[in-house]
Symmetry: C2
Subunit: 203 residues, 2 copies
């Protein structure tokens, strides 16, 4: 029988004070994973840097995977916010989506250790135990829909975006692992947008 | 300064006896990862089951990542062999590639723990330290070229196949993590073939 601690859900912040603490924990995790590889980031170190008790950290993030999936959710949110502020002006949805993804990619590649930590955690996370994994998928979809100017996506639109996300994650991962160069990664994202978004519905 | 042991290359088998031992080590790794998750597979356990000294195992596979990337290379080789024996008869290259990938996917999903171990290791492997990672890319490309009946791929063909591989790995990973169902995975592979291989050169 699994122990309760292994299957319980992560807590969600409700008061302002809790939210501030939540942000501090995510920020501490982000900083530490920028400095060193995921395997060497310790939960007690994250708690210490965030100024919270270790029990508090585990209450919100039952595992390191939960923690770094939440960091990834935060990053996706930030990419969405940045995009909303600086609307991309492009003739067609493929160009607009490409612009957003390439900017996001450059941002992620600037902090390779952190991006590796987030991608590793995301690809390891089972949606049944780490519900935040679903937020990444939804966040990504919203960013691309906004970039493409689509308010009411069709089933085909959603499929194309899901495939684009798989591809985008794979391209970043390959780039982080030295299997393709940064220019190759950008070329692959360009081709991915052109080929996968060809039937995107217009608004 | 890194220790020599961390950066040395993996040994390659040359005699028949060495090759037999190599196969036994890969088989032991495959069996253990079918039974339990990657984090709980111990190198000394693999050595014991393969009937080799722990030093021998480490000489061929300097880390667990090296070992499971090699298991993945083996799987890709087997998929290629199976395909060569049972040529797919299809009207067009997209259908033929889809058939091969869907069969391979079903094979991989039958042993979810093993597939998770291989994909995790592959996505963690840096090509500079784990040269076998490149063999996976080349093996996959050859399988798809054979299925599509392309002898002399163009630059565009190679790009499309690289993107398809990123997408395929992502789809399997999402399926293993419970984020999409098996029918959804097959649908996504179908759509991926249709959209990414649309400009494939005919032979």
């Amino acid at each position: 029988m699994p122990r309760i601690a292994e299957v319980r859900d992560a807590a969600e912040p409700s008061s302002d004070e809790q939210r501030a603490r939540h942000v501090r924990m995510l920020q501490a995790a982000e900083e530490l994973a920028t400095e060193k590889e995921l395997a060497r980031v310790q939960m007690h170190e994250v708690a210490k840097r965030a100024g919270v008790a270790i029990g508090t950290l585990y209450r919100y993030f039952p595992s390191k995977t939960h923690l770094f999936v939440a960091v990834m959710v935060e990053q996706i949110d930030q990419i969405g916010d940045t995009f909303t502020k600086h609307q991309v002006q492009s003739a067609n949805p493929q160009d607009a989506v490409y612009e957003v993804l390439v900017r996001a990619t450059r941002g992620l590649l600037r902090r390779p250790a952190l991006s590796t930590a987030m991608l590793q955690s995301t690809s390891t996370a089972n949606v049944a135990t780490v519900p935040d994994a679903g937020k990444i998928d939804r966040g990504f979809r919203q960013i691309v829909l906004d970039a493409a100017g689509i308010d009411n996506p069709t089933e085909d639109d959603n499929t194309a975006l899901r495939l684009l996300m798989q591809l985008w994650f794979g391209v970043i991962q390959s780039c982080l692992n030295g299997r393709i160069s940064i220019p190759d990664a950008e070329y692959d994202i360009r081709k991915g947008c052109d080929l996968l978004l060809v039937n995107l519905s217009r608004h």
